[in-house]
Subunit: 287 residues, 2 copies
């Protein structure tokens, strides 16, 4: 039996299941502080005999296995979680192999092995929600260099008519600052969920996301792009993305038919937790 934790900024999902993505049982816990939240995580897993646990975590995290702070959540603005030794804490309670990566890298893995990018050795998973983040599988491995990617903060060119200053505390009008759920709400004065009928909202959203995809394509050349997260449930954004991206690329790179290339997660909201099961499986194999 494999254990999986999808550690998000607002909620934790814990599940037990197998490497085929079969989930036997799950719970959802609000993200409070490490003590409170991990108490509940621990109570959940104690009901099962897990052979390994995979963690897909909000970041920034330290994914460098040679680092003394490997397995930590590092400089997050959520102060209770800053410099928190995530894998070490879990391993003290459950002395089994622990897989650890970003939530979005986990989701990319889930979609590559069991979802929209099945059979491919390369894909990009982007979540557009409270924040914007992306993970990628490159030549069969989760992308990692100096650290994990931070693609949500890529900058974009502002739409000339968009007067919203941007909501990123670090970069103001980077992609996350202009196109995340909270930035949509701040710009238009109401939650995106209540704006479905306002085409100008989604055209602007598509305008910014297309620019980010253009950069990701030029730099990473992924074989499939998967757009998940709360905002992307507004499916009418997709045609605007296709339209703006086609204009941006302007025939320079050859891409597959966009409706088949840039898609919703096939695992839906389970991409991350499924990927965390696969991280557990990888950790078990490597043990």
């Amino acid at each position: 039996m494999l254990g999986a934790i999808e550690a998000g900024g607002t909620k934790f999902v814990c599940a037990v299941g197998d490497e085929k993505g079969m989930i036997v049982e799950r719970i959802q816990i609000p993200t409070i502080g490490p003590n409170e939240t991990l108490q509940e995580v621990s109570t959940f897993f104690q009901k099962f005999k897990v052979d390994a646990i995979g963690i897909g975590s909000f970041g920034p995290i330290d994914v460098n296995k040679k680092s003394p702070t490997y397995g930590y959540i590092t400089s997050t603005p959520k102060t209770a979680w800053r410099d928190f030794p995530f894998t070490k804490t879990i391993k003290e309670i459950f002395p089994v192999p622990i897989g650890f990566n970003t939530d979005v890298n986990a989701a990319a893995l889930g979609e590559a092995k069991l979802g929209a990018a099945i059979g491919l050795d390369s894909c990009l998973y982007i979540t557009v929600g409270t924040g914007i983040g992306a993970g990628a599988l490159v030549q069969g491995r989760l992308l990692q260099g100096l650290s994990h990617p931070e693609m949500g903060h890529t900058y974009v060119r502002r739409h000339p008519k968009d007067l919203f200053a941007g909501s990123c505390p670090y970069h103001k009008d980077c992609l996350e600052g202009l196109a995340s759920g909270p930035s949509i709400e701040k710009r238009w004065g109401q939650s995106g969920r209540t704006l479905s009928e306002r085409s100008e909202v989604w055209e602007l959203e598509g305008y910014y996301i297309a620019q980010a995809l253009m950069q990701y394509i030029l730099i990473l050349s992924p074989k499939k792009i998967i757009l998940g997260g709360g905002v992307m449930k507004q499916k009418h954004v997709f045609p605007y993305i296709y339209q703006h991206l086609t204009e941006l690329v302007n025939g320079y790179v050859e891409l597959p038919e966009l409706t088949n290339y840039i898609v919703s997660p096939q695992l839906g909201d389970d991409a991350g937790i499924t990927g965390a099961l696969l991280l557990a499986y990888e950790a078990l194999q490597q043990n």
Copy 2:
């Protein structure tokens, strides 16, 4: 003995040497058409007994080994070379293993194995010259997805005082359209080589290159960034790059000391041809 071809848009460099980067003999040939140029290439290599040949080529090229046009130069604006079966043509003359990748991926490999990124499994090599291109080593392998990267065409935010329209035939004011050698020459009315003393030229150049590096760092997180090509011989660009990049990152990602992180190629102008020798060596090993 290994053979190497660095196939550039204006010149071909051919060399014979070994996998330690030792070059025994080399020639330089102007890039004309495939018939004329490859005649000279062939004459050069016939003097030696090469066990494998590595090619680092200008692009776009087909690097997908499963593709029916693997080893081709594809949609280049240089019409004589369009749809040219590069590896097949070389293999017909020299029936040895042939390695094939982009010129910039070859340079990245050269710098990673024998240059500025020695010992690292990750680096980015960018050339800023007649065009702008980049190659990358990611987790020990040359970056490839749907195709090879096309990072030179990443877009940047225009400097508010820069009125130059941009020279990229596809995207006008993408990075290549604003910061390549020809775009510098068009903007300022004279070659960059004669503008060394004009600090505004290099501050603007640093402004654009820093933006591209910001995107590359957020998306790829390379362990070392190497800036080569003719324009980067103007070493006074580097401080402007460090300054603008520091402002852009704004503390969001932790980077090594920039003067040690973003550097000139240690192999100088030989990064590409050395990488091509290593491509030959890889092809021989895989044979």
